[in-house]
Amino acid sequence: MFGFLPLILLGLFAAGLIAAAVSSQFHTVKLTEQSWKTLVGKLQKLDNHALMLVAQDFLDSGDRPFMLQPAEIWNFVGGYDGIQKMRDNAAIMLTLAAFIQEWNFDAGAIVGERMRRDAVLLRQSVRRLALSRFRVTVFGRLSPSTLYDLQQAAASYYVMRDRLLSLYKMSLSGLYPALAEAL
């Protein structure tokens, strides 16, 4: 039995590696073949004005306290439903930024890089918010750290959206109206 153990482990590792290789290649081809319209069609509507208020209150606060109350921030973001939508939209926005590379490789790559950094902050906030969901649902209270994560998520999303729209306005102005409408 133990004589076969290395072979069994090798077989499992190789099977996992082949599965990961096949899956990643399919995913890459799927991303490349998705039409722009399909991707934009997948964007979910959010209350951008409300998100902008949360983002600007967070980004422009400086030394002064935040003007929005916790309940207002929660409602403006749209609760956990809104957080999920922001996360899903962020992934699609990154792919839409990569699209620009076909027409303007340097601009698309540079702005895409900036958006990726925003997406990292957004994902970190969403992860922490998911961990605090039980506490928020059961006790109905938003701790300071949860509030901070909500604001950071909204600010990161707002910055990403703004960057993407500006990129399309400069590089592919023909598609800008449709994207602005969808976002």
């Binding site: 290395p6 072979l7 482990l9 090798l10 077989g11 590792f13 190789a14 590696l17 082949i18 990961a20 290789a21 096949v22 990643s24 290649q25 995913h27 890459t28 081809v29 991303l31 490349t32 967070f58 980004l59 992934a91 990154l94 792919t95 930024a97 990569a98 699209f99 590379q101 076909e102 027409w103 303007n104 490789f105 340097d106 601009a107 698309g108 790559a109 540079i110 702005v111 895409g112 890089e113 900036r114 958006m115 990726r116 950094r117 925003d118 997406a119 990292v120 902050l121 950071q152 600010a155 990161s156 910055v159 960057r163 500006s166 400069m170 590089s171």
Partner: protein, 253 residues
């Protein structure tokens, strides 16, 4: 040493495909985009000629000497091709995309370590130690190449990076070939050179033919033309970078 008609046919077909691919790379000037890959193909052409001439002399020692000295350089060049792919995909603007280098190095090293341990641990059935180490070496090589190509693909998908079509073709071909090679070498580790060795080698050679053919077609085709960045857009992007640094500092402080 006697080769069957099938062996000779596959060997000749592989050599012809290597030569044809090299011609495509030179004629269509793809060697400027992927110089290390072009070097690998040129090396494979030269290696095949050398091995064939050694085979015709009938000297096992000469054949073995060329085979073993070529194997090490072959692996280094394959590794070079993978690194070349990583540099093109994960460094679109000339610098590594955030987290890309860290992920590539971490997962690449972890995978190579696991491959080394597994290759060392298995004991392919063979009376000769040199044959066992040859099979372990081949197994390690294909595991590392397959794993590195997968790491590059997964990293680029997670970071939302686009692939240029020629590099994508390179990655897809290398991924497909290495998956078949992993399966073949795992079976070699079980059967050794006693059973099913030649049929498995034929499978690998057919996979190699398919990959070479795919590369010939894809690398012959042109990529979409990229527009140069205008000075207005460049100024806008620089201003955007300054604003981004300010925003990120505000968010993280």
């Amino acid at each position: 040493m006697a080769l069957s008609a099938l062996d000779q046919l596959l060997w000749a077909a592989n050599f012809s495909c290597f030569v044809a691919l090299l011609c495509v790379l030179i004629y269509r000037q793809r060697w400027k985009e992927i110089p290390v890959f072009t070097t690998l193909i040129a090396y494979d052409v030269a290696k095949t000629i050398a091995l064939f001439l050694a085979f015709r002399t009938g000297s096992r020692h000469l054949y073995a000497a060329i085979y073993w000295s070529a194997a090490y350089l072959d692996f280094c060049l394959q590794l070079g091709v993978v690194i070349e792919m990583a540099r093109i995909v994960l460094r679109p603007t000339g610098t590594w995309v955030q987290d890309a280098k860290k992920q590539f190095v971490f997962w690449g090293s972890a995978g190579a370590a696991v491959a080394a341990v597994l290759a060392w641990a298995v004991s392919p059935p063979s009376a000769r130690a040199l044959e066992r180490w040859e099979m372990r070496g081949n197994l390690f090589t294909v595991l590392v190449i397959c794993e590195l190509v997968t790491v590059i693909t997964i990293t680029s998908n997670k970071l939302g990076l686009g692939w240029r079509s020629h590099v994508m073709a390179l990655g897809q071909g290398l991924a497909a070939w290495s998956m078949v090679a992993v399966a073949v070498e795992v079976l070699h580790s079980y059967f050794g050179k006693v059973r099913a060795f030649l049929p498995l080698e034929h499978v690998l050679m057919v996979a190699s033919l398919g990959t070479l053919g795919y590369w010939m077609v894809r690398l012959w085709q042109e990529e979409p033309v990229r527009q140069p960045i205008s000075s207005d857009l460049q100024a806008y992007i620089l201003a955007l970078h300054r604003r981004v640094r300010y925003d990120v500092r505000r968010i993280t402080n």
